[in-house]
Chain length 173, copies 4
């Protein structure tokens, strides 16, 4: 199963809402993606799953990652870049089984004005380093708190237009 990574372990995050929106829209087009929320990482991951160690809890996550061929990363802006917890997840994953020659679509979200342009660019560097193909259309959603309505759907027609264009590319990609 392909994976949508909700790139934070913050509870009740906007990222998880965005992940669910992508999951639903992809499913409508016949593409089934599972959501992997970084809320599910082991709490002591920095001690148990780096530098060749592997916990039982992460082993299950690793198996899902190894099986996926396409990834959608939802990347909130923390301190002007991607979250540390997202990079910890990447650093914990096995190489090259996890990401080598697989495909990635990137979605930046922020509560501020710029939609995590910088964090998505930094993460592109990481993805390319791991030899992932990155879909060129990257989505940047600023002021995410205003973008989602009560049903956790996007309502701004311009945001929706670009998101749908990206989703079409994920399907064809």
């Amino acid at each position: 199963m392909n994976l949508i990574i909700s790139g934070t372990n913050r509870k009740h995050s906007n990222s998880i809402k965005v992940a669910k929106f992508y999951q639903k829209e992809l499913s409508k087009r016949g593409e089934e993606f599972e959501i992997l929320s970084l809320e599910d990482l082991p709490e002591n991951i920095i001690a148990t799953d780096l530098y060749g160690k592997r916990s039982e809890a992460f082993a299950e996550i690793q198996q899902k990652v190894s099986e996926a061929k396409k990834f959608v990363f939802i990347i909130p802006e923390y301190n002007g870049s991607y979250p540390g917890v997202l990079k910890i997840f990447i650093d914990a994953c096995s190489f090259p089984a996890s990401f080598f020659h697989k495909k990635a679509a990137l979605v930046g979200v922020s509560t501020g004005k710029y939609g995590n342009i910088r964090g998505v660019d930094h993460f592109t560097g990481v993805c390319n380093y791991m030899r992932m193909h990155v879909l060129p259309l990257k989505i940047h959603i600023p002021l995410i708190q205003n973008e989602l309505n009560n049903e956790h759907e996007f309502h701004d027609p311009i945001s929706l237009k670009f998101i749908m264009e990206q989703i079409e590319e994920i399907v064809r990609f």
Copy 2:
């Protein structure tokens, strides 16, 4: 006390050796820096010290960070960028007490050929976002395993020349 951040929690890392070298050379010039190794982060930091939470263990670290005015960051290359654990540390630190309008010197290290150019550039973006002044001379040490001799000192004259130039700038900066 100013701080040298050894940017990984890996045991017996090259980063900690580089940190000690900088500490000794800075001390010779009358600048006392304490080393903060990310080995000392709480193991469950992703659960205890993000999103407004604060553990007793990290509170002590936070106090050191709040008091420092200058930082030297030793940044190993993990997956083509800075380590996740270094960004977790940044994400856990209080804003703006930790870094706002303070000064940063950056040192990239890698076992590969390029000295973590990309990771140091990404970290510059993070530092500037937090409104730190970043010293323009950044050091990139590739093939770190060959650079340090048995006394954990640099012996290559070209590496030494640039490191000493950076250290002079840290003193004057």
Copy 3:
């Protein structure tokens, strides 16, 4: 005299208007900056002023650059980064007389939504490589066509607040 670089050779650009606004506000605080518009570059600069060559036309520009100690760069977004013509200007300038250990403040402008975050970050890398100190507060002005009123002044209070904060830093820096 210090310099404000209007980073495009497009006629009637928004960048030149932003440059004039900065010049006026800096002057009010006793800091005299001259504007250097890239409209004034020699038209055949790529043939006359790279790789050690020097035209009379550029020699005058070079002299101004060599004398300045502080620079404000106004950087419009062209194809997702800084303009080629701005980098040509940098590539034509003498090293190290032009920029080494001097100071730079960066202002990104775009007609689109994101205020040239990426281009300003790329240009930070260039500035640091040339060993310039870059002011950490970088300004990003999206939708520039809406930001300037008929007198070419900013009217949005939030944009003004950050611009004024940056201008204070340029003075103190």
Copy 4:
């Protein structure tokens, strides 16, 4: 015909030698690429071919660009990033006929130690912005003056291994 862009207008550049090496190796695998050297840009391109203007000289270049589906960019390091003249070329090209949804392979070269990591990363941002698919394996060739033998061929086995791997990907991509 697909294109290899030699990303500088410097005479007798290493970039053109690298371009010829790629052309020959690609041809051996049945992929015919034409070399477009930026030496062939109009000398006054900054006056004649930006902001909607078009010279006869560039119109021929534009036609080749519009027809190509795959690009190999050879990118020397100038002032810590890609050359201004390469970005001028990009800024002069028509949008979207030139690059939209086409494919790019990137090769960084430098006379210094780091193989233009930063410039290739910056150029990845430009390519993705223009909606190009960028091949994840990017080649970085430091100390280019030592890499090419008298026949302008690479002789270092490690460099050759990665170059050949990239060439295979260009073929399959």
